[in-house]
């Protein structure tokens, strides 16, 4: 196990190193920070609740752009290894495919968490500068965004383990969208008359991630309580779901030909 860690860690840090040299990362980061700043301008259009609108836009930008980074930078990083055949030399070392995939996963996760931290900082600065409230609810919201990103990175890793970059990006975006819809689809499905529709809705809800679990930005902005137990359950859910995705990814990646 520690042997595994010794192999996973260099791959992960190397992935971070590659990512931070990625121009797309900075582009997206730049857009995110710009949007957070830009929120001040947009909010000035409203004569009331300006700070709330600034924070709404800020948190939404953080969520949108960090998912963008997770998907578009992340998928490129895994495919790059196969495309440019750097993976050949790595897998010829005593590195299992599972270790390789986990190394990439953790590297990507570190990268997106790093940029989440940066965007969070921009959010705090903007909030302070306009005198908007800041409390632990925002920290909880950003933390759960981090957990959601973990799931998304795992989804991206899964699709990258067998699909082309374009399709991987497309599928991951799809899962992201469906993940935010799944709860609503479930409720809609339960209202259906037909039994099989109800069952299908339930099955879909079980299989798809319920990403709304990780979305407490409205609660944070409106100062509503975010119980610690809810956060803990969300983390547990995220961890379990990520484990499932990674297991599947490893299984598929193990069987795959690296041509």
């Amino acid at each position: 196990m520690t042997g595994s860690l010794h192999r996973i860690w260099p791959i992960a840090t190397n992935t971070v190193r590659e990512a931070v040299r990625h121009r797309l990362l900075y582009t997206l980061l730049f857009f995110a920070v710009t949007m957070i700043g830009f929120a001040v301008l947009i909010a000035s259009l409203s004569y009331v609740e300006g700070e709330r609108i600034i924070q709404d836009i800020g948190l939404a930008s953080i969520r949108l752009f960090s998912v963008g980074i997770a998907i578009f930078v992340g998928i490129g990083l895994i495919h790059g290894e196969v495309d440019r055949r750097t993976i050949y030399t790595i897998l010829a070392k005593p590195v299992t495919r599972a270790e390789f995939l986990l190394g990439k996963f953790f590297g990507l996760l570190l990268t997106v968490w790093l940029q989440l931290l940066l965007m969070g900082l921009a959010f705090v600065l903007v909030s302070l500068s306009v005198g908007a409230p800041l409390d632990w609810g925002y920290a909880a919201a950003l933390f759960l965004v981090g957990i959601e990103l973990m799931v998304i990175v795992a989804v991206a890793t899964l699709f990258s383990s067998f699909s082309t970059p374009m399709l991987s990006a497309f599928f991951t975006l799809g899962i992201y969208a469906l993940g935010h819809l799944s709860r609503n689809l479930y409720f809609l499905g339960q209202e259906a008359e037909v039994d099989s529709v109800r069952r299908a809705a339930t099955l879909l809800y079980r299989v798809l991630p319920d990403l709304e679990t990780f979305n407490v930005s409205i609660q944070a902005v409106h100062g509503l309580p975010i119980p610690a137990s809810e956060v803990a359950w969300a983390v547990l859910y995220g961890l379990a779901y990520t484990t499932a995705l990674l297991s599947l990814a490893i299984y598929i990646f193990h069987r795959r030909d690296l041509e």
């Binding site: 190193r17 790595i90 005593p94």
Partner: protein, 332 residues
Amino acid sequence: MGLSSMTDRPREIVRVDGLVKNFRPGLGLRSKRVLHGVSFAVREGEIFGFVGPNGAGKTTTLKVLMGLIRPTSGRASILGCDVGEAGFRQHIGFLPENPYFYPFLTGREILRFYARLCGVESSLLAGRVNDLLALVRLEHASDERLSTYSKGMLQRIGIAQALIHDPEVAFLDEPMSGLDPIGRKDIRDIILRLKAAGKTVFMNTHILSDVEMICDRVAIIVKGRIRYEGPIREFLREDELRSDIVLARLSGETSRELGERFSTTIQTVGERVEVQVKDGQLQSFLEAALGAGADILSVTPNRVSLEHIFLEAVEEGEKADAGAGRGGGGTP
């Protein structure tokens, strides 16, 4: 692994048995058979040449050996382990075809990276990296990014990373491709040093002069089928080999005489006289020429004949294929 426990009979380091590989080029397309039951063995301590024309299936075979792709059927093992497992990889090094490495790292950083993956102890790491940089003569560029490296330099880094953990067996896919003559010689020397150190080397190539110069045994693969496996000398059939000799200051009469004696044609181009003789007669011909007062300008082994053999093998392969095609035995 017990690698040091030598037995009298040379151990088999690599064993390949009836390897078949089908590729599915894309969804809905017919799958294509690239390896048709490839079998061969590599023995301990030898330099094994895996030789074949472009597209013969050399790289594909090596990918199977490295566990990068799975064979459709057949078995392959390295050091007694099935290639699907990871256990033996501590003891092998691999240089892929046209290797490519993280361009954002320096030569030193990439070697450290691979060394860490191999579990080289951190106390030994710096020394090991320096040794390898010296071996492949890249000390001067060790702290430059790989993105600035030339093709030859990348090939050298590729060799260095393959050997970073002092493996017992090195698998090299076209190690000399893209190198200048000095580079080729450097790599040849490295391979010979490995052999001297008791290591086994498996190399893919289609450059026959390299094979002839360093390989102990070869397997010739054409269109996914092994056409020959055995010692290189046997394959080259001594009497077929010739050398080209260029002479000067040789009178027309003497040259005619020599031509008759060695039953070969002698061409005169101005001052220079060109002649081709069998390798077996090389010694006596040169003595005779020197005796006649000629200057010897050059002696070059002529390997056209080797290429010829190679081509014959290829043609045989094609005929065999065509026969199979007529017989309706194409792969599904």
